[in-house]
Symmetry: C3
Subunit: 412 residues, 3 copies
């Protein structure tokens, strides 16, 4: 046989010789029982907690959602300074389109007939004046209402303030004692929500298949009696969030309609329904609140017959409904299953370590077992050299800088 | 040597004695081959499926996206009851700003010259009346159009209905046979989308670097010929979603333009392009649909020379284009690699279990192998006590409540 | 003892006999040290990198966010062709509501007094004409401004163009040298952002608890001095994004205000604050840009006393501020901890493989160790049959198609 053939055969032996650990079998039922019991605990844990409770065998995907909303209802205002006026959806939903965020106006400060002109600034310590010298032409106070013209004019019979160039008359932003569109609590909102889990090609709507048209015409959402109805009475939503509608309507606020589409899409689970919950998203009574509530200003622009532009400025208070759709769907996936099984098997490999410790520590015949299990090599080993030079270096380095030398000597 | 020195030496032995399993080497090529083959299968699985197919070695991040859109085109309406009128982008895109959701009006019911006044309610079983007693002053029917005044007035020559305070004349919401802005099918929409994967500091736009200005001026998206063009003809989008534009334009609908930015950011993959797809998001022909299609009401407010406010109410039907950007980018990460390698290694530790079973069950010399591999402890073991008291308790408890006792006796 | 009892006892032995590997203990301190050192490296890696740096022991959840914004400030325009005009928030924020996307107009092209009528098209190679034959009645050029009437009319004294039916006069979309609302750089924006991590029932606002009302009334965000102030001066935001406000204001753009709520919610970490960053999201100077900057057209509709509708068309340039909230919160979770510990333990099971290799290759007494560790089975093994027939088939198949046969012979 040639030399290379011998080398090949060596390689073959190296690769294909089967090496299996020698074992010692101990027919001790208590030891065996302890071993199996520990194994059982690990398996129980893995199956029970990781698989059943946490569903770690699933791949997950996040929801993609599309929302349309439609508000219905009308309200009559009968303020002392205005004619009776009916408000319908085109009036109080701003902007008009029902997206995932809908604003319903509940209160307002209206300043009609504003034109670009000059008028006396609202009185405040920094705007009151006694003569023109107190006002600077062209100065614009960030807290003011316009650009100062440099004149000091009568605001009322007793107060003089600097004149400003602005949309006049200025808005007088008084405190509002109560909501003008109090009837908004009876408005209803229809929410249509379709969702997709793209990874699983799963589509669903919040109008469930078993819900029919005639039911939808008369139903109103109620957690107890109509949990599947997608039509919400505004007062009910606000109540569910733990707030009082009329309180909230005065200064406005942001209310989250949270739709949870968390689903288990495995066929043995098979159910995937939306769960609605409601939370106020802004802070009601904070110590550190600037601009409490929710409001914004908008204007309707008109043109007078003489071509002059006038506007009606409206500071709209109201409730913004944010429809927040979230959810994660899980479905059996081979990769997480393997990863989690792998982790579990690793724990099984810990069991013999525990059992061996138990055997060599807590059994009566521990010395006998120890002797049978482990063969102790009796000869001198410390004087030996390590042939790997880098390791040898590490050792020498360590020996010089530590007391390992003495250890080694003692170690004999 | 002192006692503590002896203790130390014991500890040293405990910590630094190297304990290695004794093994039995069996030069059986078939056994060796079976062993290596099983190992190979596991490695193949891990490399092939977990790494190549599922890319489990990657860390992933979700996309953050910003969208701007711009619609172009105009349409002429020539309805019998209106003058010919040209509609441009400022007229039919409501609200005007192109965000991730753009509404293009395709049909409408216009009710001009509405004022706050009194008029006869639209006839329906609940609103027809014969005299004033049938109408309740101040009553507001949620399905009606306003607040009843308590009078019964002529709606037409033959029908009397309750009078309401409302925006009059009331909207007559007739069925629309066809879309008035049918030409909207030729409108184009430019979508500019920039995305970020913050974890990887990766930025990209849907206008790809190799696309030049002159191409963008004339291109239209087409899956076959121009898949990178970010300008979409509305009819093409709707067709791609499997719908007919003119059908959808009559009652409106919601159409999802889904941009998938799923990317493999590893340098050896290196490609990251948007993939467009289109889906109708609302339900077309459902049994249980309330308010089918997509529409909303808005108003344009005017002021008459005498200061009275009038409005033109428009019930706008149209297609809302929701641009939904999603995606997950993956890049090699050390943590998932380790977790998944760990799981794989765990499976490798299963291989000897399988091989040993094969060796001790299926080979001819299984008895010989069994004898050489495992040393069976021959002496009496059951009478032995367990020194750990808690374990001892568990055993006693178990023994009393089960038939383990008998097992133990038989076991001899 | 009956036969079944004997079978049972066999089963009991099979299940409850405790099998433990026989080991060889080598009191070689260098070998032991190498073994422990390798173990230490693995543990260090796992603890140091996987746990401390990557926090792989945490379950994570994505943020759910609600944003409201409020812009303050006013600007005076004094263009030569218009009267001085003051712009306040109702004028320049379009649409008026402050959502997660706010548009602040900085520049504009205003075309007042448009009516539905006929006028000469803007001159361009395709619209200039010499007589009516050059114009097609009813033709609508996608790049034009309306529907051609078929007449050729004077655009100016020297140029004739086709007449179109459109909103006339047409918008003349000139290049704008500078922003008209240059003062917008001093506007401030208040951002109120509340977030939720639903999995952890964790709620927080970007107005932090330690911030009081009086501070909020005067503060402005500054990364150095006021990093917690939620009020942003527009110029500062744009500067932080590395842009010049006046440059950006001319043609508009999209600016991302990115709020990062990445949090470690474990009690020993306990801090969860928003981190603001700013980035321009559109492309500033690209080669392949269509419609650079950010603009859109909207109109204000008026009714003339004679009932004719007129509109003021505004091409609004400006900066859209997209408030992008993202973040992932992590909290100690038992499942990822187990998965990652499992992976780590798998690596520990690699250590003996490494140590054995070291022992059998690099130590002086490697032959002695090898002999003591592994028992080599000396007798003939190749001739043996495999009793499992499927395996046997595989082997025969392999033998025929490869040179394994020869290997087997050599192997002796």
């Amino acid at each position: 046989m040639s030399k290379s053939a011998g080398f090949c055969q060596g390689c073959l032996h190296y690769v294909f010789d089967y090496e299996t650990p020698k074992t010692l079998v101990i027919p001790n039922i208590r030891l065996g029982f302890a071993f199996r019991f520990t194994q059982f605990l690990v398996v129980l844990y893995v199956v029970g907690y990781v698989c059943v409770v946490q569903k770690a065998y699933q791949v997950t995907d996040s929801v993609i959602s599309s929302v349309t909303t439609k508000v219905k209802g009308f309200a009559l205002t009968n303020a002392s300074d205005m004619d009776p006026r009916l408000w319908d959806v085109a009036d109080y939903v701003i902007p008009p389109q029902g997206d995932h965020s809908v604003f319903v106006m509940t209160n307002m400060v209206v300043t009609p007939e504003q034109t670009q002109s000059r008028c006396a600034e609202l009185p405040s310590p920094s705007t009151t004046c006694t003569d023109d010298c107190d006002c600077r032409e062209g100065y614009s106070d960030p807290r003011g209402s316009g650009i100062q013209t440099g004149l000091c004019v009568n605001y009322s019979l007793t107060v003089q303030t600097c004149e400003v160039l602005s949309w006049c008359p200025l808005e007088i932003d008084t405190e509002l004692p109560q909501a003008q569109l109090a009837a908004a609590e009876n408005f209803t909102m229809l929410i249509k929500n379709s969702i997709t889990y793209p990874m699983f090609k799963f589509y669903r709507r919040n109008i469930l298949p078993h819900v029919n048209s005639s039911y939808l015409k008369r139903c109103k959402f109620s957690r107890a009696t109509d949990p599947d109805c997608p039509i919400f009475r505004l007062k009910d939503i606000v109540s569910e969030a733990g707030e009082d509608f009329q309180d909230m309507a005065v200064k406005g606020g942001v209310l989250g309609i949270i739709i949870d589409w968390s689903c288990d899409l495995d066929w043995w689970a098979g159910k995937c329904y939306p769960k609605y919950s409601f939370r106020r998203l802004d802070n009601k009574h904070p110590d550190n609140n600037v601009a409490p509530g929710y409001n914004f200003r908008f204007a309707k622009y008109y043109k007078a017959p003489d071509g002059e532009e006038t506007r009606t400025l409206i500071k709209a208070y109201g409730i913004r409904f944010d429809i927040i759709v979230f959810g994660t769907a899980g479905k059996f996936g081979i990769v997480p299953t393997i990863v989690n099984l792998g982790a579990a098997l690793s724990f099984l490999s810990l069991v013999p370590v525990v059992s061996d410790w138990f055997m060599l520590t807590c059994t009566r015949k521990r010395d006998l077992y120890g002797k049978l299990k482990a063969t102790y090599m009796a000869e001198d080993t410390v004087a030996e050299d390590v042939s790997d030079s880098s390791f040898s270096f590490i050792f020498k380095y360590t020996c010089i800088h530590s007391s390992l030398m003495e250890f080694s000597i003692d170690y004999q």
